[in-house]
Amino acid sequence: MNALLLRTVTSRLFWPVVMLLALVAINVIAFPGFLTITVKDGHLFGSVIDILRNGAPTLIIAVGMTLVIATRGIDLSVGAVAAISGAVACSILLGSSDPGSFGTVAVAVAVALLIALVLGVWNGFLVSVIGIQPIIATLILMTAGRGVAMLITEGQILTVDSAPFKALGSGFWFGLPVAVVIGAVIFALAALLTRRTALGMLIESVGINPEASRQAGVRARGLLFTVYTFCALSAGIAGLILTANQTAADANNTGLFIELDAILAVVIGGTSLAGGRYSLAGTLIGALVIQTLVTTVYTVGIPPIITMVFKAAVVTAVCLLQSPATNAAFARLRQRIAARHARVKEAAAS
């Protein structure tokens, strides 16, 4: 029992989870109905469901980002890729005669994801073949990509009227939001793909020591291609969800700053930006913390002018609590308490 407690406390997910619970608690105090989940029109309805649904795009991108970060990289272009994918899908739907049909939507989604895939390959090419530093390689697509998205929409917000497409963002599937289902599938897929095969270990190995990995025969180049492509693909999927959620492609704002949220989620989840070992479960918690934070701002009624300060406080708190220095301090505290217990026991025995 005690050992279990110790394991829990020393786990790197401990503090993020505590922070998540704290945020939930704040919400419940501010708005007692926060945790209530009701069934409306045959699907689940409630703040928690909203958090899951709105957090799904961030989570999906963060999953891809986790793998990129594990290889010591970073992908700043995810927001732009999301915007492009949304723009492509919407312009296809608008251009078709029957945007409401399932087939059209399938084509639109497929083309959008294909383009996202190509963009991922492009990032992978710049990073692994040309050898450009990831932050700059993806900064290029971050800048130009938004331009491309706007080129597709000509700067307009393309509103589409297509029920199957809309369902991607705000539909329900067996009572669960479709976005949440997609998020869960991607998460599970990534977890299976990397942990059930050797992919995860090889990615970590490249992230920790690229040269040693190369000499051990690891196909670093192929792996980099894979992770950047996967990341862009997840950005594309997230872009479709975001776009479908507002039934419109907004090249400017779709996925704006989502790269920061995704990176933040990854880091809150305990994965180091220096590459190497990663934790998808941590990323999940991180994404939930971020979305809950956003919702908290709304429900608790934090005035917009101090929203940023509040965010800063939360991020700082999580990071400080997670830090080794704090851990050591807690360990000392525990030791002292244990010692006192022992002394008390001794005294009692004698």
């Binding site: 059930r196 095969t197 050797a198 992919l199 270990m201 090889l202 970590e204 190995s205 920790i208 020591n209 040269e211 040693a212 990995s213 190369r214 000499q215 051990a216 025969g217 690891v218 196909r219 792996l223 190497g276 070992r277």
Partner: protein
């Protein structure tokens, strides 16, 4: 006897899962060279790190110069007069040699660093070690050995009363060691207390006055070097008698006999024809037969590593051709080499070898897994078996497949690396300094392993700064000088001196005959008290050998 300048009592340090030090006492006297002895993972480096404040101690006390201290880190220790060269080169590849030597103590003029004075000072220091380097060159462009010397130059420049050298000689060859010892002696004579850690017993017996032996993080005892027989020392270190070495000695006889029968040359496994790479190594011809062990000999920077890297597919050749089992081929990546069952184990364990944040298990299966591709994972059970079998076979400690490799001692990391390459069942194993930093027991085991593997048909290219080791293991020795293969000869009664002559000027003729008779060491089975790693790494003890031209430069200083 004077009072000890450093006195550590009852030092304990635990890491998660390991008690690295358990109530160890250790002291150092001014004007004395002291050594810490013990197997890989015994806790030698940990004591040094405890003393210099890298690790906080759990219990115990440290007294320096009569005052109880608790250093916050190497900077504080340095300020208190303790200069340290830690195990593994810890320098900055991105800065110049001069900066690496003088960083933190740069000569200044009007508040600015005086670059010229700095280079001059660095040059002097390097010359003190008989090293002719451009102090302005980037450290990263030099070999590990040179870097090790630079680290030493840095430490001896600090005007310290305690100088700590943790395995400073692991990649040095005889000349450098001689120079280093000369410096150590002169520092000792001026009253500095010196801690010298090494796995080379000869070096220990040559230079140290006092020994502290550790085993599994516990103190075995403190002894005066001259009062402790080697055989006893070894026994104290490993806790039992060393027997493996006898065997190797015998095997080397048989090996030689086999090599002598030159007619039945084994089938070629690899044949390189004027293979070369501009700026790295001149085109060379080399044949490695199946089951054959080729030793590469040469001085620092002679191009042994470069040659090995071409064979291992680490670097691409830009001229010549390569045949593997008779078929022409090109190795463009390590991956291609591995798929042809050629393994190259780098000399730079930390930079190009281990993946320090992964577990022992992952490190061991890495190359095998990479070869299979990521979608064909090695089943967990098989991974566990592999890891356990190598942990046992190579005696990796701690014997925990889930330990992070970064937390292993240097020698154990090397074993993990070796296990990784053995796991792919290579047909050609290229070992670049595989025994660096490995304790005598383990070294014997590795040598034995190389022998066994070769007898079972594996080809081996073996690089070592210790010529004895090269001679003991190889069927043939290829000699490099100035990035050129200058000789490729049967190891048929070859001696260290003959080899040295070859290395020096490429001529075999005059030197070999007399030396061969005079020094049959390579073929002689060392007794248990004179372990196998003995040899080259000893400076002049018996000045006067006519055949030794270095006599003038090193011998007279004693």
């Amino acid at each position: 006897m004077t009072a000890p300048v450093v006195e550590m009592t009852g030092i304990s340090i635990s890491f998660p899962g390991v008690k690295a030090l358990d109530g160890v006492d250790f002291r150092m006297f001014p004007g004395e060279v002291h050594s810490l002895m013990g197997e890989n993972g015994a806790g030698k480096s940990t004591i040094i790190k405890a003393l210099t404040g890298v690790y906080p101690i759990d219990s115990g006390s440290i007294v320096v110069d009569g005052a109880t201290v608790s250093f916050s880190g190497p900077a504080a220790a340095q300020a208190a007069g303790i200069a340290t060269v830690y195990q593994e080169v810890n320098l900055l590849p991105n800065l110049s040699v001069a900066e690496n030597i003088l960083l933190g103590r740069e000569p200044r003029r009007f508040g600015s660093i005086d670059g010229r004075a700095m280079r001059r000072r660095a040059k002097q220091l390097l010359e003190g070690l008989n090293l002719d380097l451009d102090p302005g060159s980037l450290l990263g462009s030099h070999s590990l050995a040179v870097q090790q010397l630079v680290a030493i130059a840095r430490a001896i420049d600090i005007d310290a009363k305690v100088l700590i050298l943790d395995e400073p000689t692991s990649s040095l060859d005889a000349d450098e060691v001689a120079e280093l010892f000369r410096v150590i002696r002169s520092l000792r004579d001026s009253g500095v207390a010196i801690l010298f850690v090494s796995h080379f017993l000869d070096q220990i017996y040559e230079i140290t006055d006092r020994l502290t032996v550790l085993r599994n993080g516990r103190l075995v005892g403190e002894y005066l070097t001259e009062e402790l027989l080697r055989i006893d020392l070894v026994q104290k270190m490993i806790g039992k008698e060393l027997t493996a070495l006898d065997e190797i000695g015998r095997r080397s006889h048989t090996a030689e006999a086999a090599a002598a029968a030159a007619d039945d040359r084994p089938a070629d496994f690899v044949r390189a024809e004027s293979l070369g790479r501009k700026g790295a190594i001149e085109p060379f011809d080399l044949v490695v037969g199946e089951g054959e062990v080729i030793g590469l000999a040469g001085l620092l920077g002679s191009g042994r590593t470069e040659l090995a890297r071409l064979l291992g597919g680490i670097d691409r050749s830009d001229s010549g051709r390569l045949e593997i089992t008779g078929a022409g081929t090109r190795l463009r990546t390590p991956r291609q080499a591995i798929s042809r069952r050629i393994a190259y184990s780098s000399e730079d364990r930390r930079g190009e070898g281990i993946i320090d944040d992964l577990t022992v298990r992952d490190n061991i299966v890495l190359a095998l897994q990479a070869d299979r591709g990521w979608f064909r994972p090695i089943p967990k059970k098989r991974q566990e078996e592999l890891a356990q079998s190598y942990i046992q076979a190579l005696n990796i400690r701690p014997a925990n497949a889930d330990a992070l490799v970064r937390n292993l001692s240097g020698g154990n990391q090397q074993k993990v690396l070796l296990a990784r390459w053995l796991a792919i069942a290579p047909r050609l194993l290229i070992l670049d300094e595989p025994t660096r930093g490995i304790d005598i027991g383990a070294k014997a085991e590795i040598q034995k392993l190389v022998y066994t593997l070769a007898e079972n048909g594996m080809s081996v290219v073996f690089i070592s700064a210790e010529l004895e080791e090269v001679l003991r293991l190889s069927h043939r020795v290829a000699v490099l000088r100035d990035r050129r293969l200058v000789a490729d000869i049967e190891n048929d009664g070859l001696t260290v001196d003959a080899l040295l002559a070859l290395i020096a000027d490429g001529s075999v003729a005059d030197e070999q005959a007399p030396d061969a008779g005079q020094a049959p060491d390579a073929t002689q089975a060392p007794d248990a008290g004179r372990p196998a790693d003995a040899g080259v790494g000893r400076p002049a003890e018996n000045p006067g050998s006519a055949s030794d031209p270095t006599f003038e430069t090193t011998g007279d200083r004693r």
